[in-house]
Symmetry: C2
Subunit: 224 residues, 2 copies
Amino acid sequence: MVKLRVHNLAVSLDGFATGEGQALETPFGHAGGRLMEWFLPTQAFVEMSGHEDEALGAGTTGVDNAFAAATGRGIGAEIMGRRKFGPQQGPWEDESWRGWWGEEPPFHSPVVVLTHHERPELEVGETTFLFRSLPPVEALELATELAGGLDVRLGGGATVVRDFLAADLVDHLHIVVVPIVLGRGVRVWDGLEGLEERFDVEVTASPSGVVHYVFSRSGSRPGA
Amino acid sequence: MVKLRVHNLAVSLDGFATGEGQALETPFGHAGGRLMEWFLPTQAFVEMSGHEDEALGAGTTGVDNAFAAATGRGIGAEIMGRRKFGPQQGPWEDESWRGWWGEEPPFHSPVVVLTHHERPELEVGETTFLFRSLPPVEALELATELAGGLDVRLGGGATVVRDFLAADLVDHLHIVVVPIVLGRGVRVWDGLEGLEERFDVEVTASPSGVVHYVFSRSGSRPGA
């Protein structure tokens, strides 16, 4: 069965996936880079970003990398919120924005961008962005069709993940708890009381200080 | 130096140390026993509660027990909130209440109970309860005096721990994150943004599914 998977969703100890004050230069708000510090040194990220770093070399190969490397495996399409695609809100005033990722985005597959403001699809390198106004269940149907038998990744941000969890559409949820207290921002867990009842949970602490939670759906998806 | 230590403070993934609807029969509110499930099978708890259980035997001796067993080591006094002592609020209408713990409470040392309603001290077995209306720094001074050179334990509940953390008085904080989403109750992390900057943090995942966080003060206590 095709699965809907979330990978590398980093949250603070107090449950914030991003800080306050998100903007073009501060995509995580006052959290800065702290939520993704565990990810940047991994071999998977170094390879994805396409250049070796003098300080990082070829990247780490421990447990953080093991999880990071699973991100793209067997994925045929992604669903993301509009804010992951770019900083604009409301009607598209600047259609020259082609995402954060330059001329070869790391997706190499169709990406469904959820937005109330539809626009023509956009090809960047091997990635096609489709801008659609769809409720979670229909977005997943479309992405599943585009994925050609492979899994669909739910790319975030936090509110999009929360919406799909609330609709009980997520099969695999990889959450990374970073040992910092952010105090304010976008909460991941709101409205998800009892979430654990629908999943098997496996927990792994990393020497980097983060904790990897893997929630795997215990039964099959309702209606699937 | 005498330390102020918190042990076994269990919180849900979304940061609640107790659920909604606390009462005499439901001290953790709608959380029920779920936050302390990891603790009950440990040898330390089995010994503390004074009777072996047929199902549990002498108790587990793994990582959960290693942490549970540190609770009483080198402790000379405890500070607790009034709600940990008993369910009454406001003026003491029933002074016959002698705590939850029967005739031999597990403290075996002086216990400072923080309350706006002072009353004469109470001896139960080897434990003396002192009922004092004191701000955190003075409560710690009193407890330190009573502890005779040993450490002081901050016994909870969550709001009391939060107050002492906000006043920067805690030296050792052992938090146990339980993989459940409670959705409502008393939040531990509120008002503690940046807490991690004052501590070294060590993280250990247990096969039981909980994660043990140990925050150790990185420098010395201000004013100490």
